[in-house]
């Protein structure tokens, strides 16, 4: 019902936006250099510059996105305290995406065409990103999407600061193979990321002589895992490849542990189990199992130590910093670095300058690939420790170049179609 209404409102909103557009101050694109499809209305005349954030603070994924908003605000505050960008303080306009892709698209449109922000940080599910993509492309905006995802995308109006599949899924498989794993059981929540991810796993397994003993999906939020755990137990695979997400993780790991399975007999390699999720599942149910991310709070680098310390000083000593937070935080800093290199807030200039921009993130130095707008990242396999923290037990040989279409892997041929 609300959706029907919103659609009816859209034309009216667009009409109002038209008026607002002309009411904006000096334009970035005025000199005609900007090749943006629509004329930008970003006001660069004052002492401050507007930037936007869209994260869900309500609805199903609020649990994951609220902390990401904190990380974005933290980065913005940090930049402001450090003198801003090109001498201008950042003015963050924050919106609630309400876990609804339609709302994400509407808020993105508001931020780009009505608030006239220079860049937007946020987005979480792939559905939310796909919904916002045309908004940024049509209006010449910039989105910094800081979330690991299923790849197979590259928009010139989006910078992807989370891992693509060859920086998370493939390293996880490399690690398992290195550990002598010869058979896998795939389990996931039933939506695009787990399905795409498992298609990659199967192609990899096929090329590397790993046997897939089974593949099962349950709806998002499902709690009845006993049949799947039974199947896993009797299939007797060397390891489980787990792309279950969100609340279902609790039910899955409780059932897995209650069935008497441990990390010693059958380790579970999870793609979506971060520090927050470990706390929710209860460490007694996930101890010693594995996770694949690019960042863990326990990393001992100078950048991370000061990041964790400063974040906790601001948001509380009990707070954890996780990979999605670190990626979003890095996205804000990357935007700053790109703007400074371009010496301009103009979208076209930033796109032009992006290639090769680097930033020493808490997870290591990252470099932007100007062609596909992803960044190089170090992959790390983590093991869940008794205190609920995840420690890196394996690290890729330096940062991995992003390859969202997996073109550099022979076995992945045809997957991108």
């Amino acid at each position: 019902m609300p959706r029907v209404r919103r659609r009816a409102v859209l034309p009216a909103t667009a009409a109002v936006l038209g008026l607002v557009l002309t009411a904006c101050g000096s334009r970035v694109g005025e000199d005609g250099a900007g090749a943006a499809p629509a004329e930008s209305c970003v006001d660069t005349s004052g002492d401050s510059i507007k930037v936007g954030a869209i994260n869900s603070l309500s609805g199903a994924t609020a649990i994951n996105e609220t902390v990401i908003r904190d990380a974005i605000e933290f980065a913005v505050d940090e930049i402001n305290a450090d003198g801003g960008v090109l001498g201008k303080q950042l003015d963050l306009i924050a919106e609630d995406g309400a876990s609804d892709p339609t709302v994400f698209a509407e808020k993105a449109e508001k931020l780009v065409t009505s608030d006239c922000v220079a860049a937007v940080f946020g987005g979480y599910t792939s559905a939310s990103r796909k919904a916002m993509l045309p908004v940024f492309e049509d209006n010449g905006g910039l989105l910094y999407y800081g979330q690991q995802y299923e790849g197979l995308e590259d928009s010139s109006n989006i910078f992807y600061s989370g891992a693509t599949t060859n920086q998370q899924i493939i390293p996880a498989l490399d690690y398992l193979k290195e550990q002598g794993v010869t058979s896998l059981y795939l389990v996931g929540s039933d939506y695009v990321f787990p399905r795409t991810s498992n298609a990659i796993v199967k192609a990899y397994a096929d090329a590397n002589g790993i046997e897939i003993k089974g593949e099962d999906y349950l709806p998002l939020g499902a709690t009845e895992f006993s049949t799947i755990v039974n199947k896993i137990r009797t299939a007797d695979a060397d390891a489980v490849f787990n792309v279950v997400v969100g609340d279902s993780l609790v039910a899955f790991f409780r059932e897995f542990t209650a069935a008497g399975l441990t990390a010693a007999d059958m380790p579970v390699m999870s793609m979506c189990l971060g520090e927050e999720e470990v706390a929710a599942v209860g460490v007694e149910n996930v101890r010693d199992h594995l996770a694949s991310w690019n960042y863990y709070q326990t990393l001992e680098t100078p950048e991370n130590t000061s990041f964790v310390e400063a974040f906790r000083a601001e948001y509380g000593a009990d707070r954890v910093t996780s990979d999605p937070m670190e990626s979003a935080y890095t996205g804000v800093h990357l935007w700053k670095a790109m703007v400074e290199k371009a010496d301009s807030f103009d979208v076209a200039d930033v796109q032009e300058a992006a290639d090769g921009v680097s930033y020493d993130s808490p997870g290591g130095t990252v470099v932007v690939d100007g062609d596909n707008h992803h960044i190089s990242k170090t992959a790390r396999i983590g093991q869940i420790r008794a205190d609920g923290q995840i420690v890196s037990v394996w690290e890729s040989d330096g940062a991995i170049e992003p390859d969202p279409y997996l073109t550099t892997y022979d076995w992945a041929e045809g997957l991108a179609d």
Binding site: G59, A62, T227, R233, V281
Partner: protein, 294 residues
């Protein structure tokens, strides 16, 4: 072989969860004819009761037992409030009841989100329920055994109460013939209220038990509501033994179908079986034999 035993147990366990969620509905939907869409939110209230009690007590074991009692009272109290303020005025208007209780459910979900936050919360499993036991070579989690026993105990207690107590006799009298019961001096209003209290209270108990399986969020009840209605309809309105058999048959069906196919295919097949079954037996497994014409 142990796979078959495991799956039989999984089926019984799935069935027992459906049964627990449905037992209260047997009374409120089956016997009183109230289509209570907020039944799921009474389940949710039970889950959050377990969470609150655990925050307040140190021992996970003690808090579970306290929660079972408190969950019943909280669920029951919510039922009573809704019965007095809304449902009382809507008896014999099933469609209005459906819409009103659906609205109440949405309100309760939002209240839960405002009070406890949108993220799901977790209730720790007591140590005496963690781990598993081996039955005939199959590994059976203790939490699921507990829920199975709890479901049977609740059902048996309800059956005994209906059969042997004065309250139970009055309830049955009102459900079978309201007019006749009233003319024999039974206050049908009080019976309605008590019945609704017990039915809603049992939803609260189900909510407490469900915290042993998964996490608790504002939508936890919703996900069990459809299956609960299914059990009541397939079992025959107001029939406890019907609900018992329907729940376990559906649970076993689901578990074996899921084992040989996938979760979503199994769910579809279970629905197909129920639809076909209801074509031939619209009244469900059992039905009340009365001489009334309706």
């Amino acid at each position: 072989m142990d796979v078959v035993v495991s799956q039989i147990f999984t089926g019984l366990s799935t069935g027992s969860i459906m049964l627990l969620a449905a037992t209260g509905l047997v009374l409120t939907f089956g016997q009183m004819g109230v289509i209570n869409m907020a039944h799921g939110e009474f389940i949710m209230a039970g889950s959050y009761t377990a969470y609150v009690v655990q925050q307040a007590t140190a021992s996970a074991g003690a808090s579970l037992l306290i929660s079972l009692v408190l969950g019943f009272l909280v669920g029951g109290a919510m039922g009573v409030i809704i019965e007095i303020t809304l449902l009382r005025h809507l008896y014999h208007r099933p469609l209005d009841t459906l819409l009103v209780t659906f609205g109440v459910g949405l309100v309760l979900q939002q209240v839960a989100r405002d009070v406890f936050g949108a993220p799901a919360v977790n209730v720790r499993t007591p140590s005496w329920l963690s781990g598993s036991v081996e039955v005939l070579g199959a590994v059976v989690p203790r939490t699921r055994l507990f829920i199975l026993v709890l479901a049977l105990v609740c059902l048996a207690a309800l059956a005994a109460a209906l059969q042997y107590t004065a309250l139970g006799r009055r309830t049955r009298a009102v459900m079978q013939s309201r007019d006749l019961a009233e003319s024999s001096g039974i206050s049908s209003r009080r019976v309605d209220l008590t019945t609704f209290f017990i039915g809603s209270g049992l939803a609260g108990v189900a909510g407490v038990a469900l915290t042993l399986i998964g996490s608790t969020s504002s939508t936890v009840g919703q996900s069990y509501l459809i299956n609960a209605f299914l059990v009541v309809v397939a079992g025959g309105l107001g029939q406890l033994r019907g609900a018992l058999i329907a729940a376990f048959v559906l649970g076993l069906l689901q578990s074996f179908l899921e084992y040989s196919t996938t979760a979503s295919v199994a769910q579809v097949l279970v629905f197909v079986v129920i639809v076909v079954f209801l074509q031939f037996r619209p009244q469900g497994l059992f039905s009340l034999k009365t001489r009334s014409l309706v």
